[in-house]
Symmetry: C2
Subunit: 363 residues, 2 copies
């Protein structure tokens, strides 16, 4: 049998340097655990635009469709701000999500104990926090038509369309219920059903799907109240399911609240492929951080933990994922800190590469 | 000359009880400061639906168009959850906003010193916080057409449309720049220009308007990063301008972060009327809190401070507004606390009515 295949797309900003550390981890699994991957690497985002005039070539897109999992660093940066909308770095990432049909974006917001003091929230509000936001990722206002900037009379009008079908809501809701079943069996669905008809349909379908999961305690919250409650007492949640745009804001807020932003991975999953594995893309929650790119300051942990998620969700290697997560915990417990995590006493400052090496050593 | 006119719409949940306290304040201004108002009262939201089968009658709408200012309590509640979308309590409020064309919603997120410990954020992150979010209130996905739930093939589809014209963006941006000029001359505009064309147009128009305000330092942030930064270090902001939907989530999160949710007023302003006053509606940021309604537990301060905003923005009585704000600060400094603010030592628990009385006494 051939090795499982991985496509690595480092992207822009700190993407390449954090990915270098992930490759050390991947190599370790190949040599030490007899889990070799066929790894290929390619461009996405601004770096793809620089090379090819497009943030994602058709060839890279085709490769992404064929591999067992894609691992992405980050895209975007001020260098590309003036680019036309259609070739912005983000379009590369959005095309991957859409064409691979990665409808369920799992974003854990977890507070690492060693880092609880980095949160702007009080320790007791965040310590031990462990929730997951399931964000719909292939529809909604990100992709709905009509869209664009049109002329209307003597002025321009910017238009985007939120559009959700029952089946789109159904599949992401099922995914979230399944996840809740494996966790604490509490699911909160967020929309603006008091203002948006798409939210009314969302609430209806989620409620309907809930009948298949009677053990899961389902609640509904308006997204603005959800934003409030995440800031007030995030531990009231277990799993949250929400649409693409609300999920973008809410998951970023939740991630920041944990104080562990440079630590948080994400998985974007689609339907099972012929080999039974889901289509999948893994990426850190943080962005491309152009301000610190190339300086050895970036924290590679979020990207390394994204690979751990790949082990768990794509390669059925939950034990190996746990091993990797424990290695990360060990180096943190040892006091190793990249620049984003400095501040406490007793912390030992390390570069991106030193952090990667230490995690490999801890494995 | 006749007295200025005020239309009071208590609404649902705790709306009526907090409004009772505001009326005491209004009466005080009439008898003690010779500032009598012609006050009328009417129904909105669920209570209007209960009486008339609609969350806002045409007669009430007409009255709102004629008065100098509208003061609203809150709308909504689980009792009305099953109602058809078109007659939900929220539709009453949204109709007022839309037909009065109240395009600029000013939402201060201010941390009251006496209450800084109520925040889930660390004291140093929020103490002294004083920012304003200017939210566009009459357009965007709240009102764009087409909208609704349609049949498409063999399933239903929920649709809403985000739609912003240049002039809609221009006028709210101007409003925000003017406000920034009167404050610390920093304005941050938030959208998702990396994903939505309406955000591209938004950024372009705000930048253009900015040329008329060279003294204001203008920045742009993606709304997800904005949500993060509000949670991380809100004091980096002075004035934020954003669209209707982002403004809904971001202003609620910001309000919650201050720890002063029961304290925060808002003003929704439109174009000047014939008498020079802007069309205006004032309301607390908090909702109808049906769980505590009718128990004398509600905090009337947000609604009372909304009247203070009315004094300032509609009645050109900035000094009187300040007087009222100082009265509120005095009772807080004296240790008076409604149920939502209990917890510290030395606090003196008071009911909704006792809080109102104390504020009137402090005046
Ligand atoms: C980079 C951008 C297109 C993306 C999004 O808006 O989805 C990012 O913010 C995210 O959350 O993954
Ligand atoms: C009650 C509801 C319609 C309203 C909104 O979504 O605008 C509220 O959340 C607000 O922020 O004023």
């Amino acid at each position: 049998m051939s090795n499982p295949s991985l496509l690595i797309l480092p992207g822009d900003g700190i993407g390449p340097e954090v990915m270098t550390e992930v490759r050390k981890v991947i190599d370790w699994y190949g040599t030490k655990r007899d889990m070799a991957f066929d790894v290929s690497e390619d461009l996405v985002g601004g770096s793809a635009y620089d090379a090819h005039g497009t943030p994602l070539t058709d060839a890279t897109m085709a490769k992404a469709q064929e591999v067992d999992a894609v691992l992405l660093g980050a895209v975007g940066g001020p260098k590309y701000d003036a680019l036309d909308f259609s070739v912005k770095p983000e379009r590369g990432l959005l095309r991957l999500r859409k064409e691979m049909d990665l409808f369920a974006n799992l974003r854990p917001a977890q507070c690492f104990d060693a880092l609880a003091d980095f949160s702007s929230l009080k320790r007791d509000v965040v310590a031990g926090l462990d929730i997951v936001i399931v964000r719909e990722l292939t529809s909604g206002i990100y992709f709905g038509e009509p869209r664009g900037i049109i002329e209307d009379g003597n002025e321009r009008v910017g238009i985007n369309t939120q559009r959700y079908t029952e089946s789109e809501i159904d599949r992401v809701a099922r995914n979230a219920f399944e996840l809740a079943m494996r966790r604490n069996r509490k699911l909160c669905s967020m929309e603006k059903a008091n203002v948006m008809e798409s939210g009314v349909l969302w609430r209806e379908v989620v409620t309907e799907v809930g009948k298949d999961y009677p053990e899961v305690e389902l609640s509904h919250m308006y997204a603005d109240a959800g934003a409030m409650q995440l800031c007030r007492w995030p531990k009231q949640f277990d799993v949250i399911v929400t649409d693409n745009l609300f999920g973008d804001l809410l998951s970023d807020a939740a991630a920041m609240l944990t104080g562990s932003l440079g630590m948080l991975p994400s998985a974007s999953l689609g339907a099972p492929m012929a080999n039974g594995r889901p289509k999948a893309l893994y990426e850190p929650v943080h962005g491309s951080a152009p301000d610190i790119a190339g300086q050895g300051k970036a924290n590679p942990i979020a990207c390394i933990l994204s690979f751990a998620m790949a082990l768990r969700y794509s390669f059925d290697a939950g034990d190996e994922a746990t091993r990797l997560e424990q290695a990360v915990e060990k180096v943190l417990a040892d006091g190793l800190r990249t620049a984003d995590l400095l501040g406490e006493e007793g912390a030992q400052p390390v570069s991106t590469a030193e952090m990667g090496d230490a995690i490999v050593a801890a494995l």
